[in-house]
């Protein structure tokens, strides 16, 4: 078992879930017996919970377009070596380029600009993606994001009975990497949705389950999840996955890294 000094040195790593065994076990064992250290640990967790409510400032669309234009303009420049710590701004386009390049390169830049705009702006114009992110923001900013706290999926799912006109299908009950926080009812577009809230370290993920009838899902199917295809999008700093199964629509939203969100999606759809 750790002593108080070691435990306090490990406090931040423990809060961030970065302690490996055997340190993690020793840390937990110490908290069981030392109320002072346990209180410090809970205080750090409470500060993180408060910080999770900090505002997130979405990238303005006009700035995204300017950055895309800057990237396209840079594609027309020649490669030069600079020091990243004190770099200079890019030179005017077409410097050092031959006469042929003055004709060909702007075409390439226009193609890159178009590709980036389609990727960067088009994604954010998906109504279901916007709806999912707005609903996720409501979860993040809510004083009490879950109406039923999780004691496991078998406690959360029955809670929805009588509150929805469908039974949400979900087998994943959360695990150490993605604990299930609880559930709530939300309004998704024009219909009620079951909301499941998962955590991943400091990140929150919301899964909205709703009747998919009459909703226009994105046609992009970038990858497949256990037998059904899903569309992915990134907008305003959030990653979104949308899929359908047996008449139900699923929207999974979080600011966690794409690979982590994909792992959660794989667990949600595993059979």
């Amino acid at each position: 078992m750790s002593d108080c000094r070691t435990t306090r040195e490990q406090l931040h790593d423990a809060v961030r879930g970065r302690l490996a065994e055997p340190q993690r076990g020793q840390f937990s064992a110490h908290l069981q017996t030392c109320s002072d250290c346990r209180q410090l640990f809970e205080r750090e967790q409470a500060l993180d919970q408060a910080l999770a409510q900090r505002p997130r400032y979405p990238l303005p669309e006009r700035l995204r377009e300017k950055l895309v234009a800057t990237a396209a303009a840079a594609a027309t420049g020649s490669s030069r070596t600079t020091d990243a710590a004190h770099p200079t701004l890019p030179p005017p386009a077409r410097r050092r380029l031959g006469r042929w390049a003055a004709v060909v390169v702007p075409g390439l830049a226009a193609a890159l600009l178009a590709a980036l705009l389609v990727r960067g702006v088009g994604e954010s114009r998906q109504p279901l993606v916007d709806e999912a992110i707005n609903d996720h923001l409501r979860v993040l900013y809510a004083q009490h994001p879950v109406e039923i706290e999780s004691g496991g999926i078998h406690q959360v799912k029955p809670w929805f009975a009588g509150k929805l006109d469908f039974a949400p299908v979900l087998e994943f009950s959360g695990d150490e990497e993605f604990p299930l926080e609880g559930g709530a009812i939300a309004l998704f577009v024009d219909r009620k949705a079951a909301t499941f809230v998962f955590k991943h370290r400091l990140h929150t993920a919301s899964l909205f389950v709703f009747r998919s009838q009459d909703l226009s899902f994105p046609s992009t199917t970038e990858h497949a999840l256990a037998g059904h295809s899903a569309a992915s999008a990134a907008s305003r700093g959030f990653n979104v996955l949308l899929w359908q199964d047996h008449g139900l629509g699923y929207a999974l939203v979080s600011d966690m890294a794409p690979d982590a969100l994909a792992r959660l999606a794989a667990k949600l759809t595993a059979r």
Binding site: T82, A84, G237
Partner: protein, 182 residues
Amino acid sequence: MHWYAEGMRREPPPSEPPFAEQLLAQADALYNFACYLCKNAAEAEDLVQDAFARALNAQSSFSVGSNLRAWLFRILRNTFLDGKRRQRKSPLTEESDVEAAASHDFLRGDFEIDRLRGLVARDIDAALSRLSDDGRSVILLDLEGFTETEIASVMDTAVGTVKSRLARARAALRAELREYAK
């Protein structure tokens, strides 16, 4: 967007996305960080544009395989500090959160935890804005998921310094939040 998780079938990408596209994928997080640094949306926009142009221009100095995100945040922070130095026309004095922390007595135990739970987004925003630039940076980078080693790289300092700054800044923030939790 690219997904590489196990259990998901996906055609492997033909090659790594273009550098500019990798930078653009970080634009949302970068702008959010810039807003907290500048405390002003217009300045944050200028800062992100400058940092983005600098990063594009310095592509050749980026080692493929190293941490692009940390490299980009470092450029943004250096650009921010350069701007501050120009505005002040004098050397930067190191701000500290120690005094702020020392000037408050702390709430103890469950009482403090309960009060922290009652805070709302604007309280957190206001309390963060009262920290020093370094204190705010280290807290936000930590919340962005950077490890202490990565934060040291972004802030161009030693890992030990990051640890102590983070502890100091969180203590100062807790003291600030006490004012909003009353």
